[in-house]
């Protein structure tokens, strides 16, 4: 791999292979499959945030004429399976919307009628709705046996703190002693939701003798099979999971909610069962992103060199321990900075809210928000431009991270320089406007990816991959295969194979798909090329190394002869059987992606209303396979981060009940809320990928929180420390100041 590598297909803006189906409405998503004799399942959810379940009487529901099956926790075959208490509660309801029971009936309306007939005897308990409440002396306990992990001394009594972790490098106290200026602040971020437009849904069929089937929307169908088979005590070979088209996930469709329940209902009723969440169920009963309370302290010398960075991070885990993204939050917090003395301590705390799930760069937006806000305030205190301050302290090749490895070549400096050269940074601001800049770091991951390229008898091919395509990755797979095979892009059709068609593949998450599954595609394509050479060599009675593969044609380098892919494939049955290339890999060497964003925001001082007037997202892609979809990731991450910063939050009442489980009141950014989002793709190649690819999906959601946080703060002249910066909160800050 070299920077001078020349590509034929990589870097082009091809039309995505699944695009036609998606603009015509033909693409099939989770809720789009109906099976003969199918019935409808629904979930009864807890109306309380915290309650003991003294009893569940389902007899009246079972007697409903249209009801085929009712299931509660008692119907779960393996009640020791992971996460099973979130699938159907056992003896405690731990959040408003916690699944309690389920029914399957002839119609969705009948299922809803039957839910109303289920009688649950609740003993309502005091809810625990914040980190402070959860950690207070004498706080009600969610889990009577939860003992904090990671403390220096083993705890002797249970609490709501699930775990503590700590990392450090250098000497934090010595670092602060060297500082001329120290800024310390505490920040809060609210519970937020990924907000994917497609609700969770599935259609399933239990088959006692053969293959049970789940059709669902998921980021990882192999994971759905593993979890569901475990919960139902089934062998994985007897459960086929088909990944439908997926209508957004952002981390929220990595786990299972409905699928095991639907399969239990199908098993009990003998009918195929369809389930789909209503939007309010998605907000209440799926996994939101963690609320946090984070303290950050950073010190620097007058010359702009940072001497010490310290963080104390508190992450809400939701109702179950260990579900917060505390680990990556701690690991990422200071990674953009090459600073010798760093310290972080973090806590995972249970509260009576839905169990947290991953949300795009899980954990990093919250912790890096706190760090970047303090960096900007410190730059102000020192009178240094925030880009220059970052450039002076930026992480680069060789920087020792707090969490372990030294960074390889990374593109943070290049992103910062691009920010400095951007049109936006050169544009003057007007009254009531502020500008914020922030950096973001995400690791990216590799892992198991399985790919088979099956060559057809006419010389076209099918790329079968195990990674659900959530944002256009099939286009990238097609382009990488075409590049390697030196064949036309549209002669190679990518499809997502079901769990019985391929070996295990890790889910689409961690920005891994274009990187890791892309490597598997390249390996599978190389396998096909080598078989092409062998077949051609056998035809010409030469050795494979005497065959060159060029522009989709095998050339006999020691004599006359050319064979096209179509000719080789047409003759395959006579030269050794059909041709298929395999790439089953565990991808190593995921390259981190740094991002730098610029936000210009105008604040109406009379109302606190914010308007994003300009926005630029800059990020290192390593090598952009399909630049449009890379830009799309930057822009989409920006929009979600802007929503997180300005508007989005779960609002709970005093009883711990969620008051805004809908898009009207949980307000994600609309087309009318945003400006065009300018993008700059920086390409510092990842040495571990054949084309230099870095994952790009996640880093883009990290910088908007502090970029917007700083822009608003600058516009009103007050350092804001709580998200979202909704109009009432901004107005209060302005009024408190005056």
């Amino acid at each position: 791999m070299s920077e001078a590598q020349e590509f034929k297909h990589i870097g082009q803006r091809t039309i995505r292979p699944d695009g036609h189906d998606k603009v015509t409405g033909r693409a099939n998503y989770a809720a789009d499959l109906a099976l003969p004799d199918m019935i409808w399942g629904k979930i009864l959810r807890s109306p309380h945030a915290h309650a003991n379940i003294k009893g569940i009487d389902t007899s009246k529901a079972e007697a409903h004429p249209d009801v085929f099956a009712v299931a509660t926790h008692a119907d779960i075959p393996n009640s020791d399976a992971g996460g099973v208490l979130n699938i159907l509660a056992k003896d405690k309801a731990l959040y408003h919307g916690h699944a309690i029971a389920s029914v399957a009936a002839r119609t969705e309306a009948a299922a809803e009628e039957a839910l109303a007939l289920i009688e649950v005897d609740y003993e309502v308990l005091q809810p625990v709705m914040s980190i402070e409440e959860a950690m207070a002396d004498g706080a009600p306990l969610l889990h009577e046996s939860l003992m904090t992990k990671g403390l220096a001394e083993e705890p002797t009594s249970p609490s709501n703190v699930a775990s503590r972790m700590e990392m450090n490098k250098g000497d934090i106290e010595a670092g602060f002693a060297e500082a001329d200026v120290i800024v310390e602040r505490e920040f809060r971020t609210a519970t937020v939701h990924q907000g994917y437009i497609e609700p969770h849904a599935c259609t399933v069929r239990y088959d006692e003798d053969g293959q049970s089937m789940i059709w669902c929307s998921t980021q990882g169908h192999f994971g759905v099979r593993q979890s569901t088979a475990d919960i139902l005590s089934m062998e994985q070979s007897k459960l086929k999971v088909i990944a439908s088209e997926i209508g957004g996930g952002f981390g929220g469709k990595l786990g299972v909610y409905l699928e095991p329940v639907a399969l239990i209902l199908s098993k009990k009723s003998g009918r195929p069962v369809k389930m789909q969440m209503d939007r309010d169920e998605v907000f209440k009963g799926s996994g939101p992103g963690a609320a946090t309370r984070n303290k950050v302290k950073i010190g620097a010398k007058k010359d702009g060199s940072i001497t010490a960075m310290e963080a104390h991070l508190y992450y809400e885990s939701g109702a179950f321990p260990g579900s917060s993204p505390l680990g990556p939050g701690c690991m990422t917090v200071f990674t953009p900075y090459d600073v010798e003395n760093q310290y972080v301590e973090g806590f995972d705390v249970v509260v009576n809210k839905a169990r947290c799930a991953a949300y795009r760069a899980p954990g990093a937006p919250q912790s890096e928000y706190a760090a970047e806000m303090v960096i900007n305030e410190l730059a102000d205190e020192l009178g240094i431009d925030p880009i220059d301050f970052r450039l002076q302290n930026a992480a680069k090749e060789g920087t020792q991270t707090m969490y372990g490895p030294k960074l390889k070549a990374v593109g943070l400096v290049e992103c910062l320089e691009a920010a400095k050269n951007s049109d936006q940074y050169k544009t003057a601001l007007k009254e009531n406007q502020g500008r914020g800049l922030a950096a973001g770091f995400w690791f990216n991951v590799g892992g198991d990816s399985s790919v088979v390229i099956n060559m057809n008898q006419d010389g076209t091919g099918t790329i079968v991959e195990g990674s659900p395509d959530i944002g256009g990755s099939r286009a990238s797979m097609q382009m990488m295969a075409a590049e390697e095979l030196q064949m036309p892009v549209d002669s190679l059709i990518p499809v997502i194979g079901d769990t019985q068609s391929l070996p295990h593949s890790n889910p689409t998450g961690g920005s891994r798909t274009t990187f890791a599954t892309g490597m598997a595609v390249i390996e599978a394509a190389a396998d096909v090329v080598s078989q092409f050479k062998e077949r051609a060599a056998a035809t010409w009675n030469v050795t494979p190394d005497q065959v060159e593969w060029k522009d989709g044609v095998a050339i006999n380098t020691s004599g006359d002869g050319e064979l096209t892919a179509a000719q080789i494939c047409a003759a395959a049955s006579r030269t050794g059987g059909q041709i298929s290339g395999r790439g089953n890999i565990n991808a190593q060497g995921a390259g981190p992606s740094f991002a730098v964003h610029l936000a210009d925001i105008e604040v109406d001082p009379d109302t606190g209303q914010t308007t994003v007037i300009r926005y630029t997202a800059i990020q290192d892609a390593g090598k952009a396979i399909h630049p449009s979809y890379v830009e799309g990731q930057f822009q989409g991450g920006s929009a979600q981060g802007i929503g997180w910063a300005l508007n989005e939050e779960y609002v709970y009442n005093k009883d711990g009940l969620l008051e805004n489980p809908g898009y009207l009141d949980y307000r994600v950014p609309l087309a009318s809320d945003l400006p065009m989002i300018d993008t700059v793709i920086v390409e510092v190649p990842n040495a571990f990928h054949p084309y230099g690819v870095r994952g790009v999906g996640e880093s883009g959601i990290i910088p908007p929180l502090a970029a917007c946080g700083t822009a608003v703060s600058k516009a009103i002249g007050i350092w804001m420390t709580e998200l979202p910066m909704s109009p009432p909160r901004i107005l209060k800050a302005i009024q408190d100041k005056s």
Partner: protein, 159 residues
């Protein structure tokens, strides 16, 4: 309760179907007529994924009852573009990469067509406000708006 017999023109085909009085048009289209291109994102008129037109008027089909379709002309995403030729709006969405997951796309295609029929030469701001009822969580809208503006120009016969 007895079902109601409804006759309506759906994408130019006259269809007869039975509706429960409580069925939404969205349920009717998807579950009764098998037209699953129209998506359900919220069921409360907040996301626009279920956008269709009734007698040319843009509506959220989750907020209309199936029985209200009686005697009307309904157009869904399946009625836009011919089998061998996409509509310009569909082409521009693909060219501009104006979709990622694609779940909002049918609603946006329907809404964009309604926009450009009402206003063939919208400003960017007009397009953004007209499409404010169609949520997209993936794209940040940038490429959608570019596709819409390009489609408008092409449909006006511009370059």
């Amino acid at each position: 309760m007895a079902k109601t017999h409804v006759t309506a023109s759906i994408n130019g085909d006259v269809k007869e179907f039975l509706c429960e009085p409580s069925d939404t048009l969205l349920q009717t289209l998807r579950d009764e007529l098998g037209l699953t291109g129209t998506k359900e994102g919220c069921g409360s008129g907040d996301c626009g994924a279920c956008s269709v037109t009734i007698n040319g008027r843009l509506v959220c089909s989750c907020l209309v009852l199936g029985v209200e379709a009686e005697g009307t002309e309904i157009e869904t995403v399946e009625g836009i573009g011919a089998s061998d030729k996409l509509h310009v709006i569909q082409e521009k969405f693909l060219e501009h990469a104006a979709l990622q997951c694609g779940i909002c796309t049918p609603g946006l295609i329907v809404s964009t067509k309604a926009l450009l029929e009402e206003n063939p030469d919208p400003t960017e701001e007009e397009a953004r406000y007209y499409l404010a009822g169609n949520l997209c969580r993936c794209t940040g809208y940038d490429k959608i708006i570019r596709a819409v503006m390009d489609a408008a120009e092409t449909m006006r016969g511009g370059a």
